[in-house]
Structure formats: C-alpha cells, structure tokens
C-alpha cells in the first residue's frame, strides 16, 4: 500500500514539475502571462488529477475544435468542456473549476495528465479558440462558467444536492482561489453546504495570499481562514500546498456530512524564485525591460536543463 502511495506521489511531483516547465515555456514565448498561478497551484492540480478525483478518461478531443457559439436555444450541439474530465457517471467525481483565471494552469494540467494534446496549447488566447484566457464552459476541463469569482461553490452545491437525490456516490470537487473568500457568496455557500450536510463537496484552495491588487493581507484580510471556515461548518485543513502527504492526510479525513476544505498554502514563486523580486504584485507577469526578460529566460533555461 505504501509503495502505491509513494508511486502516486512521485508521479504527481513529476507532473507538477512538468506543468511549471510547460507553463513557463508558454509565458516566455507569449512574452508574459499568469505564471505565479502555475507555480503556486501545480501540486494542487497534480493531486486532483493524479490522486484525488475519481474520473473516467477524457470524452473530448485531444485538440479542441474551434469555438462554436454560446449555450442557447439555437445551439443544440454545444459541447461542454467538462467532458475533458470524463463522461459523468454515478460513481465518478465531478470537477468544478472556480478561478477561471487559472485557465492556463488547468490546460497545462490536462496536458500533463494525457487529456489534452501538448500542441493544443498553441490555441490558448487565440481568436476563435475554445481555450480562452479566462475559461468559460466550452473551455477544456471547464464544466461551468465561473469567471465571475465566488460562484462555483454554490453551483457545486446544487450539483451535489441533485446527485444526492439521485443516489449517486461520486463526490464534487471544487478548486478555488483564496481571493474568493472575500466574496460574501462563498460564505453563503459554506453555510448552506454545512446546513445540508453535504460532505460530498470537496474543496481545495490555492492559498497563495496574492490577488490582483497585491498581497491579500493589504487588500482585504481573510485570515484566520481555517478557523473562520471551521466556524461555518467546514472540515477545514490548513496545509502546505506543495506537500502531497499533507494533501492525502486531509483527503483521508473526509467525512459524509461536513464539506471538506483543504487550504493549501502555496508559494507563488515556487520553482521560479526570481519572481520574488516582483512581490507582492505577482498576479500577471509582464516584463518591464529586455534585461528582466533575459533573466527570466535564464531561469527558464536552468529549469529546462535540470
């Protein structure tokens, strides 16, 4: 048993490292991008896709077709991006992706877990593509539209309620960002999940303490987050978000009634310490000079050669 566990951890560590490298490569070629989110959340996604979520193989093309319009009465053939997480089934888990700004992280995670072709990344943020900068539910891996932050947890609760009524055993996983705990709706949702005893909802949060305006401690404090969430009825765990063993321990503590909330404390410069120079404004990497770009290129080359 422990050998199997070690296997998944080694594989997940390798997947996380490949995610960083692929994301960094893309950001260098794109001359900027959401790098800190990949650095902070790589282990979270490797845990979700490599260990936590019970999902079937992708039911969607390895290379997504073009955008074919929004959901609506005149678009019956709309294809939902959730199919990249497998066809739904009573015993399968579902994945609701909350911080749609992490789209690049998700796409890279899908690639490293064999659900999306590496060359699909060339469609990222291109006109007419499904692989939008901030994903919507036609984007690979995205089941519901959550770019307006703080809405996913409520949607996940509805899915979980419906699945409970149907007697389905699968869980509903939600990946969130810590900034979403500034939204009142998140607390409404936690309160309701607790009221309805929906332990089938399992949340993992990238607590990187960063948001668009800078450090969350300066923009709007949310701490002590674990205590607050526990007071709302969550089965909350405050862990190192780069530590797979800690993630697994939190997962093992899941119970049937309390929503599981894994607060994964992360380093937004993990793997790219050069980014610490820019702290606390890490939301989007934009090179301010040729010199800075060259130093990031050197850091990338070092990572690629390692």
């Amino acid at each position: 048993m422990s050998a199997i566990q070690n296997d998944w951890r080694a594989d997940a560590a390798a997947a996380a490292q490949r995610m960083r490298l692929r994301g960094f490569d893309y950001v260098m070629r794109n001359n900027g991008g959401y790098l800190s989110q990949i650095c902070s959340a790589a282990e979270i996604f490797a845990f979700l896709y490599g260990r936590a979520m019970r999902i079937g193989p992708s039911a969607a093309p390895m290379i997504p077709g073009p955008f074919t319009g929004n959901p609506g009465p005149n678009n019956p053939d709309y294809a939902n991006g959730g199919l990249y997480n497998g066809a739904p089934g009573p015993d399968f888990d579902r994945f609701i992706f909350s911080p749609a700004h992490y789209a690049l992280v998700l796409y890279v995670a899908l690639i490293e877990h064999g659900r999306l072709a590496p060359e699909a990344l060339e469609q990222f943020n291109q006109d007419g593509s499904r692989m939008e900068l901030i994903g919507a539910e036609h984007s690979p891996g995205v089941e519901s539209t959550t770019g307006s932050l703080g809405q996913a947890l409520s949607q996940a609760m509805g899915v979980a309620l419906g699945r409970r009524m149907k007697g389905e055993a699968g869980a509903v996983w939600v990946m969130m960002s810590d900034g979403e705990f500034q939204e009142g709706q998140t607390w409404e949702a936690l309160q309701a999940l607790s009221h309805y005893r929906l332990g089938s909802v399992r949340i993992i949060v990238d607590v990187n303490a960063q948001q668009c305006d800078g450090a969350m401690a300066d923009v709007m404090r949310i701490e002590p987050l674990a205590e607050r969430a526990a007071a709302f009825g969550a089965n909350a765990h405050d862990i190192d978000g780069h530590d797979f063993a800690a993630m697994e321990r939190a997962l093992d503590s899941a119970d049937a009634e309390r929503p599981l909330l894994i607060l994964a404390r992360t380093d937004p410069a993990r793997g790219v310490p050069l980014m610490n120079e820019r702290a606390p404004v890490l939301h989007y990497l934009r090179f301010s000079s040729d010199d800075e770009r060259a130093r990031y290129q050197a850091a990338f080359d070092a990572m690629a050669g390692a």
């Binding site: 307006s148 809405q151 509805g158 419906g162 009524m165 949702a189 309701a192």
Partner: protein
C-alpha cells in the same frame, strides 16, 4: 350588465401542488419567503423537493444552476426584487448564460405592494428582457397564474415569471389558458390600440369600456409574454390602428412593454404615435395600490386621457365615469395587497 368577476383567493397554493404531483423533476427553492410566496403548503406536501436557502439569494442562484445541470427543474420562489436586483450576476452567469432550465417566480410586481421601494419590482422586465436566453412572462389574472406553469415548464432554458399572489380576479376563462407569445384581444376597434400586461389589464378594461361608449374604437390587447415579443397580432393591430397606441405598464417606461412595442414599431416602420404610461424614470414608495396607481398615472383615468391626446378628442374621464365602468364590467374588488 355582465356578471361580476370571480375573485380567486391564492390560486397558486393548491394549483402548484396538484401540478407538481407527477413531475418529480420539479423542486422549489425559497429564500425565507416561503409562505409569502404561497409555497408553504407545497413544502409540507413535498418536503424532499423543497430547499430552504435562507436569506442568501446569490447562493440560491448557484444551487439552482447545479440542480438544473443534474436534470432537476428548480422553481425559485421569492420577491422579484431579490431575484434580479440582488443576485443578477449569479442569475446571468450561473443560470442564463448556460441556458439552464430554472424558473424564477418573481412576486410583488411594481406597485402592488405597500412594502415600498425595496420590495417593488419596477425594472424587472427591462432587466430580464435584456438577459440573453431568458424567456419573460407575466400573469394578469387567476387563469394565467394557474396555467403559466405549463408554459414555463415547456421553455428549454431559463424563464422569468412576473407573478401575482393573494386575491386576484379571473379575467379570462379557464378554458383559455396562458399561451406563449400570444396576446389576448379584449376589445375590438380601429382607432387606438391599448396594450397592457399584468394588473394594468383590469384597469384598461374599464377605460376601454368608457372609451367605446364615447365612440372611440379601442383594440385592447393583453400581453402576457414580454420575451419573445413577436406575436403577429400585435404588429397587425399597430399597423391597422388610425391614431396610434398607448401602453400601460406596472413598470418603468424604460425597457418594459412600452419599449418592446416601440421597438416593434421601429423595426417594422410603423410610423404612428405611441404613448407609454408607467413609472417615468422614478422609484415608487410605500402606499396602497390604488393610491400609487393614481399618483403615477397607472390607472384608467390616465389611460383615457392618453387616448384623448392621441385622437385629438381631448376628453377626460371623471371618477364617476370610471366607477360606472367598474360597476358595469364587474371589475374586481380584490383584497388589497399586504405584507
């Protein structure tokens, strides 16, 4: 003299229970206004299909979205203002954008409530019409309050229903249920078209009666579908009338029925006057329905005056004239709305 109108007391209570009996996909969500929205008995009848969401409308929208994705048909019941004002981003992004089968039953339309500005939904139709994928319905009497359920349920997407509660008249026979995108012709005439919806229809029936006796040919159309708004009977009436049209809406004059009619006329080059009666870029306040209808020109007298302006006849109706019409048409004396 016609028979007095039947006044129906809380038709939704029993009707919705009977209707939902063999529809296990139907679930109800309420935000602490369960009895206020006439679903307390529904909750007691189907406790496993009723979800109390507390005073948390944003979360309620998301939960409804998730339930709809799982094949259920959530019927949200709360005051209309708390649907489209308080939780609009959630309504638009979690429900309307994905075209999910959620039904919004919005109570307390316009000035029917003395609850004042916070409880009076005066711009709901404008906002819901402006929401892609949304179908927008409004009930005007007991027959429509009963039969709108079938119409809403048939919509393959989100549907907003501006809904009545409490005592209401039965203006239309049970044998003529709510029909999507189909206006009801309540009087025939070639001079002026009057278009009304919801509670303004009963008011206009009195005005139309008075006007017809004055020799003005009034074609009165009752509108119960705000979106889609493509009923050819409406366009034909607008094209064929001599002087123009008047809309009377329990809503602001921006974005609601008056706007929909003006858009239709513009799109089809119908170059006639349109007078839009309703709340004119203003909020209302807490007072009785009769008082507010008179204050904001939402009553039969205002309608008669507008028709007089349109035709050039310039006549007005006195209270006595309207009251005479009220008696003759057997207009309702439904109990005033309270909280």
């Amino acid at each position: 003299m016609s028979a007095p109108l039947e006044i129906v007391k809380r038709p939704h209570v029993e009707n919705f229970i009977a209707w939902a009996k063999d529809r296990p996909d139907v679930v109800v969500l309420s935000a602490d206004l369960t009895n206020s929205c006439e679903v307390g008995q529904w909750r007691d009848t189907y406790p496993d299909r009723f979800f109390s969401m507390g005073m948390a409308e944003q979360n309620m929208m998301g939960v409804a979205a998730g339930l709809a994705r799982e094949g259920y048909t959530p019927f949200i019941h709360t005051f209309a203002v708390f649907i489209y004002r308080r939780a609009y981003d959630q309504l638009a992004m979690s429900i309307a954008y994905p075209n999910l089968r959620v039904r919004f039953f919005g109570f307390l339309p316009g000035i029917v409530t003395p609850g004042g500005v916070t409880h009076q939904a005066i711009e709901d139709i404008a906002i819901m019409r402006a929401t892609p994928n949304m179908t927008v319905l409004e009930t005007g009497d007991a027959t429509e309050a009963e039969s709108v359920l079938d119409v809403a349920q048939a919509v393959d997407g989100p549907c907003y229903v501006r809904f009545l509660r409490g005592e209401m008249p039965r203006l239309f026979p049970k044998s003529e249920p709510f029909a999507l995108n189909t206006a009801r012709t309540l009087s025939e005439g070639d001079d002026v078209v009057i278009l009304t919806a919801g509670i303004t229809t009963e008011e206009a029936m009195r005005a139309a009666d008075f006007l017809n006796r004055k020799g003005v040919g009034v074609r009165h159309l009752h509108v119960s579908t705000h979106k889609p708004f493509t009923d050819p009977a409406v366009l034909d009436a607008l094209k064929s009338c001599r002087y123009g049209a008047v809309t009377l809406e329990n809503h602001i004059t921006t974005g609601g029925l008056g706007t929909a009619v003006s858009e239709l006329m513009t799109d089809h080059g119908v170059g006639k006057r349109l007078i839009r009666l309703g709340l004119n870029d203003t909020y209302a306040h807490g007072a009785s329905r009769d008082y507010l209808q008179a204050e904001y020109n939402l009553d039969a007298k205002a309608l008669v005056k507008a028709v007089g302006e349109l035709t050039g006849a310039g006549f007005e109706a006195s209270d006595a004239d309207i009251n005479a019409a009220r008696a003759e048409s057997g207009a309702s004396d439904a109990k005033a709305e309270a909280l």
